[in-house]
Symmetry: D2
């Protein structure tokens, strides 16, 4: 099976998430970086590409050059997909351009700045038939897939309540403007969009809950706050949620909670049992049935579902973590891309990744949260 060839847009020197994407792809040896436009600064773009060993004729100063060059190449040489890892504001123009010419896309989250842009991408992708994955990476964890399986197969009964938290503390002081590139763009409305914390990590929380439960938000009530003086976007957001099936939700998202690192967690309560999972110790999933002692599922155990086993590389007790979950998203997109090449349906168990629909719903979540935060009405319909 030949490796899939990809180009990367963004992710050059000083970036964080681009390197994570590359390592995640490297892990399974199924993808190779062959081209790139790795920074919005032309010089840095070229220097970054050289550092990564790109051939000079595939190392570009800007993403338009990359796209032009790809289109000139014969199909057999062309990239199989582009991986977009820029700050948020560049997602839309880059993704749109590649989608329009039929090149598959993997794009970081949140997808774009507006629901109109998201809708535009959905239509463009439908037209060109590309595979489009959004790297809500936390859904790649095997035990998230186990949780999804258990909820969807009814093991918890009817879902009544969901508590989703994404607790961070790294922005509890005014880090932006002090040379921290990550803090800079994430707190800058021009690059990050209308939301800070709620867009950066709240959207992950929304996606995790939706992926596992399949519940649809009916209405939400948000309180967004900017605690750190001088900051331009929210750094803390708390929501009450009502789902269309009558379930209730709480979503907590913060970047000023000192002592919290990357504490994404979810608790799901149904009429027959509950589940609890925490990203920082991702190899464990608690299941509490209604009438029996709680039990602990560990990654790699033989009693897990096929989706969880498929997403696992190591035996139980040999912990897998962030990179492996990320790699699972790429593995899923990769299967869909191969299936497109081969004009077949992707293998259901394998083509498991967040889609444009997830991305669009995530954008809507951000918009509605900000709308609610400015509203005096309790409930903002979703």
């Amino acid at each position: 099976m030949r490796k899939l060839r990809y180009a990367m847009v963004g992710g050059g020197q000083g970036a964080f998430i681009g390197g994570v994407h590359r390592k995640a792809m490297a892990l399974d040896g199924q993808m190779e970086l062959v081209a790139g436009a790795l920074s919005s600064s032309p010089d840095k773009a070229l220097a970054s590409g050289r550092e990564l060993g790109l051939a000079d004729d595939r190392n570009h100063a800007c993403w338009q050059d990359l796209l032009d060059d790809e289109l000139r190449r014969p199909t057999g040489e062309r990239i199989d997909f582009v991986s977009i890892v820029t700050p948020n504001h560049m997602h839309y123009p880059v993704a749109k351009a590649f989608v329009d010419v039929g090149i598959n896309v993997v794009c970081d989250k949140p997808l774009v700045h507006t629901s109109a842009q998201a809708q535009d991408l959905i239509e463009a992708a439908a037209k060109s038939g590309v595979v489009f994955a959004v790297t809500y990476n936390y859904t790649g964890y095997p035990l998230v897939r186990q949780a999804r399986h258990m909820v969807r197969s009814g093991e918890l009964g009817e879902i009544r309540k969901v508590i989703i938290e994404y607790n961070q503390g790294w922005l509890s002081t005014l880090l932006e403007g002090s040379g921290n590139k990550q803090a800079d763009w994430r707190t800058d409305p021009a690059r990050s969009g209308i939301a800070g914390c709620i867009g950066d990590i709240g959207s992950h929380a929304e996606n995790l809950a939706a992926t596992i439960t399949g519940l649809e938000i009916d209405a939400l009530c948000a309180d967004l706050t900017t605690f750190v003086s001088g900051r331009k976007l929210d750094d803390d957001g708390n929501l009450l949620l009502r789902y269309t099936n009558g379930a209730r939700g709480i979503l907590i998202s913060s970047q000023i909670e000192i002592g919290c690192e990357n504490d994404l967690r979810i608790r799901i309560f149904g009429t027959q049992g509950s589940l609890t999972w925490q990203q920082e110790n991702p190899n464990r999933l608690w299941h509490a049935p209604l009438d029996a002692p709680p039990r602990l599922f560990t990654r790699g155990s033989p009693w897990l579902c096929a989706e969880a086993i498929k997403a696992t590389r190591l035996p139980a007790g040999h912990p897998e973590a962030f990179f492996e979950a990320f790699a699972n998203i790429y593995a899923g997109a990769g299967e869909a891309i191969r299936a497109r090449h081969e004009r077949r349906s992707p293998a259901h168990l394998e083509a498991d990744f967040p889609t444009l629909q997830d991305g669009a719903r995530g954008v809507r979540f951000i918009e509605k949260t900000v709308e609610s935060a400015h509203s005096t009405a309790k409930w903002t319909p979703f």
Copy 2:
């Protein structure tokens, strides 16, 4: 030092919390039960009193008889205080009657059904000069007192966010009407009041947060739900809180979260650090400073504050738990009662217990939460 003599109202056969109060008082050997009216059913009251070894002339069929009898006795024989452990609806009439005649009161929570009743008690107590304690027992834990000390002394800086949870699952099915006495009265508006879950346990959560932080709620936004079909009161409540200092809060309270037993927890985030405590493992308190590794305080450690050490009976690693915390509330009330007897100021470190003001604020919390739950406005002023 002679033992304090007390009478109990409520807490007879089949009751739960009365026995807890008695054991808590027995632990330190500073109080003795000498009289009682232990049930609203006269026969059960008398039978219960006999079982507990009450003398016949101090074992009463109803609380009015108890009160009459006490008033007839010479001071030296009279009870030092009455402990009221009935269902909620009886708190007000009983407490009022004892307060009016100058007998000290320890009363279970929530204090009464309405803010008007609470105000009435406050005024009556001011007039007669009695000691009045409300058994918000969870504030008796040594590490809750450590947390209070750390917040109040500024170790966390300015408080920005409080997350309080009280997660239970025991009412996830329709337990009332099936012979479970606890479920019966707690879900019955006539005995429990206008709220179910939010009154029964949400009020503990409110009190814990207020006790530790001293923050005042400015406005709240509540979503109350009754999940179990056939139930008359809420069994799940989630709130957004705004405090007068600008801090934000989330309060989660539920009795339908399967897998949760008595999971009261609190997280407090300030500008300089955070604290985390869970009632089910109460001998541990996490402190995460802004710029240093998180550290774990354990009960019994020499580096704790005087209030926490005072509230401790055993060395570190010899766990203390629910009864001991409860006993600390009584110990605090006991010191205040002794001070009243001796016409002196109570020792500050010792007379540490929730007061009528706590009780009144708790009633207001329930009222405002229910008001918000019925409101279409986002924020209900507190």
Copy 3:
């Protein structure tokens, strides 16, 4: 049901464990202190008794006076049992004297200094027919009883391996001689016996394993060390164990492990599953079956065995701890004492406490451990 009357020997001002015994007995309101000889120093004995409210004629300067006085009293006034909470060296003479005259005894551990003394007590108790309990208090925890039930009823299959640890760190520096009364006598051979750490806490570990598993030690191999310069007894002991059924054991016992408070734990592995329990968080018991996810038993759950439920006072999630476990030992002894009074067999489920046989085996364990520590042979037969 009248309260049982007891006298206490030891446990006066400055003592630690005597107060624990008293509180444990007070908790359930079934026992009352009526007499005492509370210290080996006559003045301190009398002062301590006054502080505890003993009548002058039952407050004695020495235990012999106490015994004489009791024998002079009519049966209806006499104590039901004596509680011996002195340093170890006094256990034997006091216990022997009371046993010989037919007074029931509850005695702290380790029982006595030598196996000969233990045998002597066994014979004396058989002759006089007294109830004799040894307060290996950790076996009073409800989940220890659950563990015992599960092992004894075969849920783990044949036991293969036991790992018992008792990790403490409080003696990691030379605390004795600095005014710490507990450190003083526990490290003094005259009062503590031939062993330090292994006698003080190792014997608890031995008892916990024996109580739960019923396995008999066939041979042991011990390494005892005194780490702290100037100390007279061992402060660290590690053993390999071989049981008569072929199972293997490791016993770790230390008082120089900094960071450990009172960390008694046990893991038991059989052919069909395993159990894990830790004293510092005693309301949880892990059970890992051979072919299913591990599950967590919590105290107060309805699926526990009758013995565990019997030993429980509070619902699940309302933690019980050290005092309550201790009280369970006394409750068990109390039932046996009442049965003796009433010339009936004690109720099996209730008369659950460590006996002279446990005490004697514990003494033998200490002797054999010290013997092995001095031996060049790998295995010392037990």
Copy 4:
């Protein structure tokens, strides 16, 4: 920087650890597989190589062919190192052959079957000047390096006690002979060597303790057991250790502890503090100082040592795990190999990997443990 080229011996279809090595190497994109002899079965070797995309002329039926072919190639094409991931019995002949011709080696553990073989390799490597790394992968965890730093820099004071455990349960039934390839060779003396459990995982435990503490074993006392009927090697081993500095150790190693997955842990106690680390949750390290609350170090925190930060790819809270630790071993060997190419000293901070000395000591540990297990003397000198 060009990628290092490597060949792999072993690790073909059906193997476990070979794939782990490849993924670990792939993660950082610094190494590429160019040649191989992937199985002892020629057909399987070739099929495995084709699956991995090896060029036909570098895909060999046996390791001798691989070696011959490499020697024929010009230096610029030749592999930079060979990765040996066969069952244990093949380590020696393969490693020896490559070392002798000056090709760098990365070899799985335990290094070889006998101390004589180990000594032979040490001498051969000294002669040819190759880099030789042994993949004791658990020492690659960032927080293991933090622990090593803290111990070596004296933060714990003088080390008194080490407790090392490697608890597994997967061999609690007779898995070998049932088609489980991993169970088959690990329990087969011909391929695994003189020890089962103690060689397979006990040697990891030994290495972890030695790496962190630098302590040297003076004598050991071992109890090895084969619990599962029909098994040819030990499946459980427990040791008492004495170190040359007077410290004591316990080493527990088992493959019959049901409920344990890959539970490698270590506790280290010194005169000034202690450390606790568990492999299954490797992003946390406890430090308990003598006179302050215990604190938790998390991977990625700014207050860690340079070695720990160097070994980290993701921010705190984004968990890293087994593959990343493994990759750190390869990164260390890679730096040493590059330094050899460039005739310079390797960068101290980077060339951090277990060496032939570690491998040789590990072999000696296995030999001495087996010797002790057969001895009636308590202590077997190391």
